[in-house]
Amino acid sequence: MKHMLVVNVRKCLGCKSCEVACAVEHSESRDLFTAIQEKPAPRTRVRVGQGEGFAVPLQCRHCEDAPCIKICPTAALYRADADSPVVLNQDQCIGCNWCVLACPFGVISFDAQGRTLLKCDQCFERVERGERPACVEGCPSGALAFKTADEVVAGKQAASLVQIEAGLGGEDA
């Protein structure tokens, strides 16, 4: 079942712990105190954006109909199957940056230091092991969750039922 990263914006305190967790997960050592000394430095694939009065972590949405996959001339961006995340095959990538231009959310970037594209791979190795993505695990306030669309829908329905129940007593449901 396809999972997605879900952000509860009200819970995000802008601490950027998700950025650190992501960079460590994509390091050689996967250990903070060792990763900090690696060359080239590990890079984060999630960025905390600042809105008007709110902060929100931004990362690849792993679109169903992904513009980046469509535009990639070498098929370096791909997904293994319909439920899998959009990932990058570094060897195929020629660095044309078309995906950077095509992404509607601005969550694919070019890392000048590593001369490679940076995008969220939804920590597919962790997920295969039954773990949650590093950014979700690294969030201290519970602002990030990893859920299927069905779970999101079910959650919203449950919340609206509470609202309806609270409004019962004459008002139209």
Partner: protein, 658 residues
């Protein structure tokens, strides 16, 4: 992250209690540690700054985002500045403890305290002589008043240097002079360092790192050394004695009252009051067979080494003790006290009483310690504890049987007697042992417990590895308690763990291979012991020449940072378990673990694997031995497979020979 009982502690009593806590749904620090995950990476790396209200700022550790704070401070500056604050806080804690001891000595000398007398007269006269305080035909009280006044002036000194700076070897003092870190006044140095960390203050990482040392030296050669010296003068110079450690010292048929914290003033009065007929009668009336006083942390070390009061445990045992359900009262003073104790106290029947004007706690009962009526208030506190015996729920009582005998209470001065004998006290046998290659060197293994590591494992594994390599261990604080619980403070530990050379020395002079030197302010005893080793001759005139080292395998407190800086700043190589929170600045890390040696004669190393850390120390001792052109080691290290076996020397040799 630790989750199983065995991963949480190597202490069987702790493992048993952790099972009981889980059954009774009681939370301890490990549970809160797990709930706290993930811990902030910026904080761990030291690159979060909240020193002004333009922030908080944090530097991107991996280089993409901001590389400096809003004021322009680099990661190097932010890391060094945070560390300087923590060193100053640690120094303040030890020093303010020292100040209280001075006050207590002063009020005792003036006849204004109750229940204290000046017990360390020999040390009083020695210190008065050292400080040039002479009064003809002075009584102890008159002399003590003058010494206490002089000690008090050390805190507020505005000009010149601390008196104890004169104790340091010439080369050490020259380095301090060059680096501009000679401690000048305890409060002045701490305030100066704190000032430098104010927004827009010092913004050069190296200067801030020198300030870390300055704050540390004000502790080691100031506040802590004053605390040790004057505690000995007031409460008596410790002499080696036998006692016991671990939760098994609690008694099911006794009223159990624990002290926890650091300052010995009140706890010493509690020891006296615990013998009072009124308290003993109250115990009998309550249906208890007596009163068992025991301690946690360094308050425990203080009354252990002066009165033989047993130890209930070290830092992480503060909660375990309450889970036994058999503690009527825990009396706390300052430092290392969990506010979480209130929740356990609610589940069990324990009364937790705070006593220091410096440390109040939500949910504890506060009975402020007043030295002018110390004995009366100690008795009142104990009587309230006895009264609480009636509220004990026998169904909740689980006292682990584990306890171990120990020898505690060595001092720089008493080591003279032990080494040389009472009629020719001398450090000569120690220096000779090192020079001949029986002993590889002397290492101070000290410091706290932390939930980030399996309790006591770091201390025990490191100490055993060092003993096997003929290293004499000196200990303080929670590390000493860890080794006490594991039987390493007994002379018999030499049979079980020591290399042959160390065992020969221990057998010859009747010492355990690990010497308990007291509480964490008593790390100053390690400095004064190093002075004596230098003075005895043959091993160099500078701490930096000596085959000695320090280690804090399970450190967690800011006090440990201050200690680290005064030990390294005095020229002694030191290994910490968890790294200091500096890895967000490669420059600061490089300076502390390398560059600092050029400036201060010693450096830090960070190594969380205790056996690997032991080998960093062994390599260091060997390099110092080589530089001094000492004889090579007399014997091979004890084979690892014989560790823990009560081997006779011949058998050990046979194993070594294969």
């Amino acid at each position: 992250m630790v989750s199983s009982k065995k991963e949480r502690s190597v202490d069987p009593a702790a493992q048993e209690i952790l099972g009981i806590a889980a059954q009774e749904s009681q939370q301890v620090a490990y549970d809160r540690y797990e709930a706290m995950q993930p811990q902030c990476g910026y904080g761990q790396l030291g690159i979060c700054c909240h020193n002004c209200n333009m922030g908080p700022c944090r530097v991107d550790p991996f280089g993409d985002g901001p590389q400096e704070g809003i004021c322009g401070a680099s990661a190097d500056v932010i890391v060094a500045r945070n560390l300087a604050r923590r060193s100053a806080v640690g120094s303040a804690a030890h020093s303010d403890h020292g100040r209280d001891i001075v006050h207590l000595l002063l009020s005792t000398a003036r006849g204004e305290s109750q229940g204290y007398s000046i017990k360390g007269v020999v040390k009083l006269r020695k210190l008065a002589r050292e400080w040039g305080i002479g009064i003809e035909d002075a009584t102890s009280a008159q002399l003590a008043e003058k010494v206490a006044e002089a000690a008090l002036a050390e805190f507020g000194k505005q000009e010149g240097e601390l008196r104890f700076v004169e104790r340091a070897p010439q080369k050490v003092r020259e380095r301090w002079e060059q680096m501009g870190v000679t401690p000048g006044g305890v409060d002045r140095d701490i305030v100066g360092v704190l000032h430098s960390t104010n927004m827009g203050g010092s913004n050069e990482a190296l200067h801030l790192l020198r300030n870390c040392v300055r704050a540390g030296l004000a502790d080691g050669w100031g506040g802590s050394m004053i605390a040790t010296e004057l505690s000995d003068i007031l409460l008596g110079e410790p002499q080696p004695l036998v006692s016991e450690a671990n939760l098994g010292v609690l008694k099911e048929d006794h009223v159990n009252i624990l002290v926890h914290g650091h300052e010995p003033g009140l706890s010493d009065a509690l020891v006296t009051a615990s013998q009072s007929p009124k308290v003993l009668a109250a115990c009998e009336k309550a249906g208890a067979k007596g009163l068992q006083l025991a301690g946690i942390c360094c308050t425990a070390n203080e009354i252990l080494m002066r009165h033989g009061v047993p130890i209930a445990g070290n830092f992480l045992h503060q909660e375990f003790a309450l889970v036994t359900g058999a503690v009527e009262m825990m009396v706390v003073d300052i430092q290392c006290i969990f506010p979480a104790l209130k929740d356990l106290a609610r589940h069990y029947h324990t009364k937790v009483v705070s006593t220091s004007p410096k440390a109040h706690f939500e949910g504890f009962q506060h009975i402020e310690f007043d030295e002018s009526r110390a004995l009366d208030s100690a008795e009142e506190i104990l009587l309230a504890g006895v009264e609480n015996f009636a509220n004990r729920d026998p169904e909740k009582v689980h006292i682990p049987s584990d306890k171990s005998p120990l020898v505690a209470g060595f001092t720089t001065e008493s080591i003279f007697d032990h080494l040389g004998g009472r009629y020719r006290p001398s450090y000569r046998p120690l220096n000779n042992g090192i020079m001949e290659g029986r002993l590889r060197g002397v290492v101070g293994v000290v410091g706290c417990n932390t939930v980030k590591q399996c309790q006591d494992e770091g201390h025990l594994e490191m100490v055993k590895e060092l003993l096997r390599h003929d290293v004499l261990i000196v200990q303080t604080g929670c590390s000493a308690i860890a080794c006490g619980k594991a039987g390493l403070l007994m002379p018999e530990a030499a049979d079980l763990y020591a290399g042959r050379g160390l065992k020969e020395i221990c057998d010859a002079v009747g010492l355990p291979p690990c010497l308990h030197l007291g509480s964490c302010v008593d790390n100053s005893r390690i400095l004064t012991a190093c002075i004596e080793i230098c003075r005895e001759g043959g091993l160099g005139e500078d701490f930096a020449d000596l085959p000695v080292a320090g280690a804090a395998p399970e450190w967690m407190s800011d006090k440990a940072i201050a200690i680290g800086f005064y030990v390294v700043g005095s020229g002694v190589f030191t290994v910490t378990g968890d790294p200091l929170p500096v890895l967000g600045s490669p420059m600061v890390k490089e300076y502390l673990t390398d560059g600092m040696e050029k400036d201060f004669g010693a450096k830090f190393a960070f190594e969380s694997d205790p056996v690997k850390a032991a080998h960093l120390i062994i390599d260091h001792l060997d390099s110092k031995r080589e530089a001094l052109h000492l004889d090579s080691m007399m014997y091979e290290p004890r084979p690892v497979e014989t560790v823990g076996q009560p081997l006779q020397l011949e058998a050990a040799e046979a194993v070594a020979a294969g």
